[in-house]
């Protein structure tokens, strides 16, 4: 079993790496095909001439074919000199100063940002990861804490008033985009009632735990809405499925008290998918945070992604792409492995 698991992890890991590689290739091409480029800020600027544009293009190596740029991003450009005529493939910056040569993602060099004027991409991402995780994790906690009980409650009262109320509420809330709810609540609670701050992560010059929680409350609750709805629905569905199982009928038939039937037989089986799926759900929260980060000016990776996309900052976009892919892979692997532990029937086939 142990050995099979190790082999399974290695196989899946390699598979995933291959997938990430393909994804980066596609991502890089798509970014390149989008109109504009890292120098588009100069496009509409009468202070520059065509010569300025060409000089900067050459300096940053943006005048090279896409494949060469991809290769430089992937494997670095310092070794280009080893190829015959390869020096011409290096960016102007790299030729002028070997310290500025890219080393490539394979050597864990994420490159430097265009928009942030030479800042290291990995630093830019690293300084934003905590904010994103904080928001993602708190909304996960909230949606689980609300979603599971409400799902259970709805299932147990199937067809009765509480079930209808919960169902109608979830449908209603689901028809409105959450970011819009967020903006609305922000303006009502923050603007008119002044119960919560108008966005941001901390008050300037404060930053105490209480202050941070105060800032976190509304974004966490709003971004938990969609998770709460889907968790509550799945929970209700799983509960109903388990309630129809023969062993539940058996338990009831042998005279077990109803609360024990629910607690010991129904709940345990119905909740299984959540235990294993938590890391996956967390990932969805991370990726779904972009809009909320925008609405609540939360300084996380989502906001960085939007800046990078709007300014066509390839290195930052690709960096975020790779990091989020890796987070995804780790999440998926964890789900698979956890599943094996929780459900002994699962075999890791090779």
């Amino acid at each position: 079993m142990r050995q099979a698991l190790t082999r399974y992890i290695i196989r899946r890991g390699l598979q995933s790496l291959f997938l990430v590689w393909i994804a980066t290739l596609i991502g890089f091409t798509i970014y390149q095909l989008a109109p504009g480029g890292p120098l588009q800020f100069l496009d509409d600027d009468p202070k520059r001439t065509a010569a300025d544009f060409e000089r900067l293009s050459a300096l940053y190596g943006l005048n090279r074919p896409i494949l060469v740029q991809y290769l430089a991003w992937l494997a670095g450009e310092d070794w280009f000199v080893l190829l015959p005529g390869g020096a011409a493939w290096q960016s102007g910056q790299c030729r002028a100063n070997p310290e500025r040569c890219g080393r490539g993602i394979l050597r864990l060099d994420f490159g430097r940002s265009f928009y942030f004027k030479g800042s290291n991409v990995i630093d830019l991402i690293a300084e934003r990861i905590p904010a994103t995780f904080m928001l993602g994790f708190s909304s996960l906690v909230i949606s689980v804490a609300v979603g599971i009980p409400s799902g259970i409650y709805a299932a147990l009262n199937r067809g009765k008033l509480p079930d209808h109320i919960i169902r109608v509420t979830t449908v209603l809330v689901n028809t409105v985009p959450e970011w819009w709810i967020g903006l609305l609540l922000l303006i009502i609670l923050g603007g008119y009632l002044r119960l919560v701050p108008l966005g941001g992560m901390e008050t300037i010059g404060d930053g105490s735990l209480l202050d941070r929680l105060h800032h976190l409350a509304l974004p966490a609750i709003v971004s938990a809405i969609s998770g709460w709805i889907s968790i509550s629905r799945i929970m209700r569905f799983e509960m109903l499925e388990v309630l129809n199982q023969d062993y539940v009928r058996t338990a009831r038939a042998k005279g077990l008290p109803e609360h024990l039937v629910i607690w010991r037989h129904v709940l345990r089986n119905a909740i299984l998918p959540f235990v294993t799926g938590l890391s996956g759900i967390f990932l969805i929260f991370l990726s779904g945070s972009i809009l909320f980060e925008l609405v609540f000016s939360w300084p996380g990776m989502g906001r960085l992604a939007v800046i990078a996309i709007n300014s066509r900052d390839y290195p930052v976009m690709m960096g975020l792409f790779v990091i989020s892919s890796f987070l995804g892979i780790i999440g998926v692997l964890m789900v698979d492995i956890l599943y094996g532990f929780v459900d002994p029937r699962v075999k890791y086939e090779l």
Binding site: K47, N97, V335, Y348
Partner: protein, 612 residues
């Protein structure tokens, strides 16, 4: 095994979809020029025209206010006529710059919807960064007088121009200090200039320095700048060309590597009114008064905080609740903002006004290649109505290249006032027939034109587009409107083989009229001159006006240019905008002029009273 809930190949699909969606996103954080709230607005002094990024709709201004401000602007234009010729002169200032300010203390809370990128003055191009840099660095040898709009001594207490107009000598004030107590000298200017002109140092606007032949520090307090040939805007351009960096700190550091040069993102030795205390990217920046600031010492307001907020609505809410002292007022909120008990809305007609137009594609093969078609289109649209209804009184009609606020403004140009009959007559001259409500060409086909606008989020431009469509339908011309994301719009505009007939655009006017040459020069097709306007006479007039600095001579040339361009009708000129800014009433000392309100920001002070 029993089903995965999150298989890896799904992950990849999601990522790719995300990438696809992402590249389609429209710019959301571009600043809106009219709603700009940053008090450092006077940076357009020497700048070139800037294409406006995004335009938002406007609502109601009281006529009273407008007229009052108009008088002010007209007076200033009169004053501006009295510009002295720029040869063989010496100008000395006896302005007292040492008396300290007296109303010091307090904190000003600013909000912004986009954060700066870097404090490095020679790498960035965005407005947020330049306003941050303007807090900590100062570099104007001369500055524009807020009343006469003439250049007057600033960091240079005296300047002279040689008889041939090619050598400029600036004498710096003695006693100006960096924040660490070291003197600011001409050596700092010269060293900075030499770094900037190194092509490997990434300065985006290197071509702006090409007119300079040499830039030398003769001694610690004398700068000598030489140019090749007489160029009238040069004094203005030189005055703000180099913002000196502290040579004694920077020369040990790599110029453009943020890993090894901490000064790039956290300047420690500065020359501006404020020092940086803390900058948390995408969250906030905190500044404190620089006691060593050369102009009357520390500014009145001791702390200056900029908070980054998600969008203009939230920023406006912050101003309303008193969480910030200023905030952007989108045109639709203007009426409400004027009624806010804690806010004063300052309004002015800026010398560097933003003006809107419809560009007409002049390339052969397009219907608008024909002069009569262009004139017909100009007659067919009621521009007064557009100005009044779309801009709700926050704009004024424009008939040619320079708005009324310019000192070279020519009122005597064809303005194409709304006249559908004249429009039809012009089309008939171009070989079209107006029958059964349709404008048909010789082959009997109805005329269809494609109108482009971007960004697709701009409500003002959308409104202009549908209004134009409606007016053209009345003379039997069909219009296909295409709204585009900003980058895609620029790409379509700057294409070598455009497929559009018309587009909606805007330029920021400049105080120096010569800068507008770039948008009419043949060499700038298709970038700045997207309509492909070619008129050698106009280019000749611009060249003459740029090389003979006699005021009357220049004025005559620019006026002639305005008439010729209006007659050629490459654009349908629409209107130019008013500017405004909301400030908390506790902030005193604000004086709106044609330069905006930021020009005397250091003299603003805080009168403590409960907010709001």
């Amino acid at each position: 095994m029993k089903g995965y809930r999150y298989p890896a190949h799904w992950l990849m699909v999601i990522l790719v979809v995300f990438a696809l969606l992402a590249t389609q996103c429209a710019p959301s954080s571009t600043p809106t020029p009219e709603a700009q709230a940053t008090p450092t607005a006077a940076s357009t002094e020497t700048g070139a025209p800037v294409v406006e990024q995004q335009l938002t709709p406007t609502v109601a201004a009281t006529l009273e206010v407008s007229q009052q401000v108009i008088t002010q602007v007209v007076e200033e234009s009169e004053a501006a006529k009295a510009r002295e010729p720029q040869k063989g002169i010496t100008v000395v200032s006896d302005e007292d710059v040492t008396t300290p300010r007296t109303k010091r203390g307090g904190e000003y809370k600013d909000v912004a919807t986009s954060d700066a990128v870097s404090f490095h003055p020679y790498l960035t191009t965005d407005t947020a960064s330049s306003s941050y840099q303007g807090m900590v660095y100062t570099g104007g040898l001369l500055r524009l007088d807020e009343n006469t709009l003439q250049y007057i001594p600033n960091m240079a207490e005296q300047y002279s121009i040689s008889e041939d107009g090619l050598t400029f000598t600036f004498h710096l004030r003695k006693g100006m200090l960096w924040s660490d107590g070291q003197p600011i000298t001409a050596r700092d200017f010269e060293w900075t200039y030499q770094q900037v002109i190194n092509p490997a140092n990434e300065f985006p606007y290197l071509s702006q320095l090409e007119f300079i032949k040499s830039y030398k520090a003769l001694d610690d307090y004398t700068l000598e700048i030489k140019i090749d040939k007489v160029y009238c805007p040069s004094l203005g351009q030189m005055s703000g060309l180099i913002t000196p960096l502290p040579k004694h700190v920077w020369e040990k550091l790599p110029w453009n590597d943020p890993d090894k040069n901490p000064e790039m993102n956290k300047p420690s030795v500065v020359s501006g009114p404020y020092k940086l205390v803390e900058w948390k990217r995408d969250q906030y920046a905190v500044f404190e008064a620089n006691e060593n600031y050369w102009y009357h010492g520390a500014p009145n307001i001791s702390r200056y905080v900029i908070e980054i907020v998600p969008d203009q609505d939230v920023a406006y809410q912050k101003m309303k609740t008193g969480e910030s002292d200023t905030g952007p007022i989108t045109p639709d909120k203007l009426k409400e903002a004027r009624q806010l008990p804690n806010i004063t809305v300052y309004e002015w007609w800026p010398a560097a006004a933003l003006w809107s137009y419809i560009g007409l594609n002049m390339r052969s093969g397009f219907p608008t290649h024909d002069l009569h078609v262009r004139r017909g289109l100009s007659y067919a649209i009621d521009k007064d109505l557009l100005t009044q209804e779309v801009m709700q009184g926050q704009a004024k009609r424009l008939c040619s290249v320079y708005p009324e606020t310019s000192w070279v403004y020519n009122p005597d140009v064809p303005c194409y006032d709304y006249d559908p009959e004249k429009a039809i007559a012009e089309f008939q001259q171009a070989g079209y027939t107006f029958q059964d409500g349709k404008m048909v060409d010789q082959n009997g086909k109805q005329l269809r034109l494609k109108l482009l606008f971007g960004p697709n989020t701009s409500k003002t431009r959308e409104l202009i587009a549908v209004t134009v469509q409606d007016y053209l339908r009345r003379i039997g011309v069909e219009t296909d409107i295409q709204a585009m994301e900003w980058s895609a719009y620029l790409e379509a505009l700057h294409s070598n083989e455009p497929d559009w007939d018309m587009y909606i655009g805007a330029w920021q006017a400049t105080i120096e009229p010569h800068i507008m040459y770039t948008i009419w020069a043949e060499e700038n097709i298709p970038q700045l001159n997207s309509v492909a306007y070619i008129n050698k006479e106009v280019e000749k007039l611009f060249e003459e006006a740029g090389s003979n600095c006699d005021v009357e001579f220049r004025k005559e040339r620019y006026q002639k240019i305005q008439r010729i361009i209006a007659e050629d009708a490459p654009y349908i000129f629409l209107f130019y905008n008013k500017s405004w800014s909301g400030q908390n009433k506790r902030i005193k000392g604000i004086i709106p002029t044609a330069l905006g309100i930021g020009w005397n920001m250091e003299d603003w002070y805080i009168e403590e009273s409960p907010t709001p």
